[in-house]
Amino acid sequence: MYTIAELRTKYISGELTPTEVFDTAIAAIAAKDTEIHAFLAVFADARSEAEAATALYREKGADTPLLLGVPLAIKSNILIKGRVASAASKILENYTATYDATVIARLRAAGAIFIGATNMDEFAMGGSTENSAFGLTRNPLDPTRVPGGSSGGSAAAVAMGIVPAAMGTDTGGSIRQPASYCGLVGFKPTYGAVSRFGLIAMGSSLDQAGPLTQTVADAELIHSIISGVDGYDATTITPDTYGDIPTKETYTFGIPRQFLADGIDPDVLATFNAHVESLAAAGHKIVDIDLPIFEKGLAAYYIVMPAEVSSNLARFDGMRYGLSASGDTLLDVYQKTRAQGFGNEVKRRILLGTYVLSSGYYDAFYGKAELVRAKMRAELREVFKTVDIILTPTAPTPAFKIGEQEDPLAMYRQDIFTVPVNLTGVPALSFPMGTVIREGIQLPVGVQYIAPHGGDARLFSLGKKVYDERR
């Protein structure tokens, strides 16, 4: 599939039309998606928008919005007015969004065409897309493996070549980890850079929406369109909130060696080390750093996130929208609706969240987790005084086999390098750093570049040099 930039050039020159690209994408879904199952819904009726875009290019050429006629796949926890947004949960199976999320409104204004809603772990809880209530998604690069998650459907849609880019959400790695498993670019913005209005909330202090693309330049383009202050999300930030984070010719990279010492696949570590060497060869400075509190990040995350989950998902009560089970009393309706509507992982996290927030445990768990979070931020501030970018692999392993991770704790450990980024709110970019071979198949593995708060532009500038130019 062409990149967004390539599509745009071909649309303007007339070599390709949005209608042709739309038709090709719909045909590709019919041909390939029965096996992969990236999509929960396909919006074939959006063809009229492609036709209108085709006409507009004929009339105005380059004088058109930047994403005009570009088909995008959208994770099904992002509201598109008039479309079902199920978040891959039975409780929202028939829920039709009554308004556009801010990111959708901005992409729409830029001319993008939404071609379908993608599969995901239910309510974005998981790292493999096996937790969908509507069946799992397979990795297009090796269908016996998972595409990652929770934005696994979005990643698979791009990796299959159906769309040039897709939208995901990232609460603990849900954009970056599937990007790593599927050989794509994934970006988690600085917390507050992108409005959360119209995202089905998971962990409100952690959630951000971002793109999965083939190039860093495309990720930058989408981010530039969706980001910015929004009156409907009071946590959105202005470009000067964190001051100037300059872009440079060469950078100082910090490698948290201690953090990488444990539980990481040897081939992934070798690929990572080769990547670090290539940066040194390109004239960048490499230093070892210590992030002792970061290593407690995963434990803190599995307190903070479930706490927010249990609060956010309290709204699904069978009253105003979504599934409603019949029962004798109001309490009965609540309990049966939530029993039937939520899957295992969602129930597990709601129970965990209820526990850590309950009287007597709040200080020991939630209070301590927030303290860890504050100490992680302080630790980062110190480290970013001397380094410009922190480098880790995106995930400790390549894409794993479907059904391989049955123990919830083992699954949670896949997030070890990504969750500290959400807990502290800094931006991070993942792109392919190489491949490892499993059963004769080359599987991509991603590297994660972490910048200080507000350093989104630094990541794009660097990513374009390190990845796009050598792609």
């Binding site: 039709t96 946590t235 407690k296 929208y321 597990r348 209820t354 309950s358 768990f365 708060h453």
Partner: protein, 98 residues
């Protein structure tokens, strides 16, 4: 973590659990709590929890009507499991005989 504790949490969370689920969650939750317990030995100054740069407080916008009357009413009613006219039907919560 005991089965009774899981049942209590489920009641608080308004989720009916089967016996099999209670069994499974009892085992899993104990393991998860042991893991996340890594945070409980953290010590630090509570001053760290004070707002940092970038944290925002009291972000208000004007309390003004931004939509037309009935602009969303039909769409919202259509999402409701049970309606009567322009009303949502819910279970009675006050019982005069109780």
């Amino acid at each position: 973590m005991t089965k009774e504790e899981i049942q209590h949490l489920a009641t608080l969370a308004r989720i009916e659990l089967s016996d099999t689920e209670i069994e499974k969650f009892t085992t899993e939750m104990s393991a998860i709590l042991e893991y996340v317990g890594a945070v409980t030995d953290i010590v630090g100054d509570d001053a760290l929890l004070a707002p940092q740069v970038g944290a925002k407080h009291n972000v208000f916008r004007k309390d003004e009507v931004t939509n037309q009357t009935d602009e969303y009413t039909a769409a919202l009613l259509a999402e409701m499991p049970q309606t009567q006219g322009r009303f949502m039907v819910v279970k009675k919560i006050l019982n005069p005989d109780a």
